[in-house]
């Protein structure tokens, strides 16, 4: 399953870091963040729960930038 989310991130470098971090998340096959269109595309592994995965991705992102946000 592949889904695209709107995100809020302020700096391009942070978006890069978030992408690297989010890729390490369990249940995630691939993550792409486009800083320019402020969108995150997450490809989930089969059987992964979207809510749980996205919650922990958000948690990881908030560690990079305090006021980062993902709309999911």
């Amino acid at each position: 399953m592949k889904k695209t989310y709107k995100i809020e991130v302020d700096c391009a470098n942070c978006a890069l870091k978030m992408e690297t971090l989010a890729k390490k998340e369990a249940g995630v096959k691939d993550v792409q963040i486009s800083f320019m269109s402020q969108r995150m595309t997450v490809e989930f592994l089969d059987g992964a729960d979207e809510q749980t995965v996205m919650n922990s991705i958000l948690k990881r992102c908030k560690k990079v930038e305090r006021d980062a946000f993902i709309y999911f």
């Binding site: 486009s34 800083f35 320019m36």
Partner: protein
């Protein structure tokens, strides 16, 4: 400016004013230190906070940490010695100003680019018991009748059932002339109703309508990153540790060496400060921001010109095109039949056409339609008498009392009339009046107006390998190819033959160069997806084309292909300029800072300066219109 940015601007102004006031104040000692702390905290409190937050989360060496350590270090140096606190505050000020500008510029260009593609309809008007209700378009079922007022965007694809108007389809096709629609015409979501009120019977759900599909395509474009963008990610992975180790060496090595040497002092604080400055100067921001910005702007600019590119990777690959493969019908040609030759015998040409048009008046055959459109005037039915259709041969009608036979060679043979032999591609229509041969008309598919120019432009771009594929007969294929200037033609191909041939061309192409296939997406979807880059023409409304292709041309102008390649080349040139410029300036400033020739001011100034220039350069990609 957002609220956040406005707040930052006032912090910058207050802090700058404070710093300016303090330069004139004559204070010393601890009082001086505490007074300078006021503008320092105004401008830098969030950075200090974020630095602590970063360390708590196990992230050392992020920008905030570096800024905090560097400025606190500078304050400490000032306190222990010369009483110079200006540098700490000024560096913080410059850094924040740079960040603010970057945020503002990026936000601005993001908005203007997204604005280009903003075709999202926000509501649909649906009539319920005589009352017009405004509802969310996703709730409208297919087959409902919606009302679209002048100035509104058509939310869902459908068919006009009442009213007539002009539509602005610029966002969909890039075509600036309004399109007139009346009852029975198909309309696409995303176009703007200009004049009259239209009632439209919806044919699809909102999600499946043109506007939604195009938006989805544009939004997903971001997830296909170009190689250059991936290059930056891998660059950062090597760059960051290298910079950190260099800084560590810079702090430790020179003092240790000078301890070993006689008569020199280690100068620990000087080298530590240089190492910190080195770290502050190392942020690769300009690179990280400018490359995706360039591709984003390129995709936006192309979108404005009616070229939808599904991802930065395709925009990048397009610049490496070495071979363009065209489908014939509907791509290089109009895909419809037109009168291309009048050969009268014994009567004027106009008369020949008039006879043919009148005789074929009642026929629904495509050939009759092209005769009618070539004739152009309305047919006076009073002049037509009895009409007899001979299946597979043609028609015999009475026009102005004369017996006109219009049809193929077999009809002429059937009537015992000797007709001219002609060697030409296309369909030949013979005409006879009262048993006498009157000449023939040739009807064939014609090349698009811009087809020849498009091929020429591709040649100018250095693409020598231009190929035409078609399922059509050899003679017609060769004739069209000659007209548009293509020398490599493969005709009489079945659909899987096209795939095979494209695969052979891909194999033959040099490593790293790309094979582009251009088709109309109707029966060449497999080839579109097999080619390195598939370009579909006349994409609006054709689901298969939008799905199978990597690039969709909203209208069917072949000139858009060389244009897309030029946009791609321009984007890559900008990316190259920015990368080289940013890395060069970065390396220079790191060397200057490391050797102590430049201070923290210059380092930050270089960083912000490079970033601003890189952003401005990237924005050039947006002006794809004149490319």
């Amino acid at each position: 400016m957002t609220k956040k940015q406005k707040k930052m601007l006032s912090r910058i102004l207050f802090s700058a004013a404070g710093l300016a006031a303090l330069t004139f104040a004559d204070t010393d000692g601890l009082l001086r230190f505490f007074l300078y702390l006021i503008p320092y905290f105004i401008i830098g409190y969030d950075i200090l906070f974020d630095a602590v937050f970063g360390i708590l989360n196990g992230r050392i060496f992020d920008e905030n940490f570096l800024m905090a350590v560097a400025t606190v270090g500078a304050l400490a140096l000032g306190l222990s010695g010369n009483g110079n606190y200006t540098e700490a505050v000024a560096v913080m000020l410059l850094y924040q100003t740079g960040e603010l500008f970057q945020g503002y510029a990026v936000g601005k260009s993001r908005k203007s680019i997204s604005g280009l593609m903003d075709i999202r309809p926000d509501h649909a008007n649906i009539e319920n018991d005589g009352v017009l209700l405004s509802v969310d378009p996703s709730q409208v079922e297919p087959g409902s009748v919606i009302t679209v007022h002048p100035g509104e965007r058509i939310p869902i694809d459908g068919c006009v059932v009442c009213g007539s108007s002009s539509l602005d389809t610029r966002a969909l096709t890039g075509e600036s002339l309004p399109r007139d629609v009346a009852v029975g015409d198909e309309v696409f979501s995303g176009s703007i109703n200009l004049i009259g009120v239209l009632k439209i019977m919806t044919a699809k759900r909102f999600e499946e309508s043109t506007a939604s599909r195009i938006l989805e395509l544009v939004e997903n474009a971001a997830s296909r990153k170009s190689k250059s963008e991936n290059f930056i990610s891998s660059f950062a992975r090597i760059y960051t540790p290298v910079v950190c180790i260099s800084a560590l060496l810079l702090a430790a090595l020179p003092p240790i060496i000078s301890i070993a040497l006689p008569n020199t002092s280690p100068m620990w604080s000087v080298w530590l400060y240089r190492a910190l400055t080195f770290l502050v100067a190392s942020c690769p921001c300009a690179l990280v921001i400018s490359i995706p910005l360039t591709f984003f702007a390129g995709i936006g600019g192309a979108g404005k010109a009616g070229i939808l590119i599904k991802g930065a990777s395709y925009l990048e690959a397009l610049s490496k095109t070495s071979c363009v493969v065209f489908d014939k019908t509907g791509t290089l040609t109009e895909g419809s039949f037109k009168v291309t030759k009048l050969c009268p015998a014994g009567i004027p040409g106009e008369k020949l056409l008039e006879y043919a048009a009148f005789a074929e008046y009642a026929s629904s055959h495509p050939i009759a339609k092209s005769l009618m459109s070539e004739y152009g005037e309305s047919v006076d039915t009073q002049r037509i008498g009895e009409i007899t259709e001979l299946a597979g041969k043609g028609v015999i009608s009475s026009v102005d009392g004369r017996r006109i036979a219009v049809g193929n060679k077999r009809l002429m043979e059937h009537l015992g009339i000797k007709c001219a032999d002609c060697v030409c591609h296309g369909t030949v229509v013979h005409v006879a009046a009262d048993g006498d041969y009157a000449g023939y008309i040739v009807i064939s598919d014609v090349p698009k107006v811009n087809a020849a120019e498009a091929v020429e432009r591709l040649n100018e771009l250095g693409i020598k390998d231009i190929v035409m594929l078609t399922g059509d007969r050899k003679e017609s294929a060769d004739a069209i190819a000659r007209d548009v200037g293509i020398s490599k033609v493969y005709s009489e191909l079945l659909p899987d033959g096209k795939v095979e041939l494209t695969e052979r061309l891909i194999e033959k192409a040099k490593r790293g160069s790309k094979v582009v296939f251009v088709g109309d997406g109707i029966n060449d979807a497999p080839v579109l997806s097999r080619a390195d880059i598939g370009i579909a023409m006349g994409g609006v409304g054709s689901e298969a084309a939008i799905e199978g292709a990597d690039i969709v041309l909203m209208d069917d102008d072949p000139l858009k292909i060389p244009k897309a390649i030029r946009i791609s080349k321009k984007c890559l040139a900008i990316v190259m300029q920015n990368t080289i410029f940013a890395i060069t300036v970065k390396v220079c400033s790191l060397i200057l800072v490391g050797t102590g020739l430049a201070g923290m001011w210059l380092a930050i100034f270089a960083d912000v300066g490079v970033m601003i220039l890189a952003i401005l350069n990237a924005a050039r990609a947006l002006a794809a219109k004149n490319t």
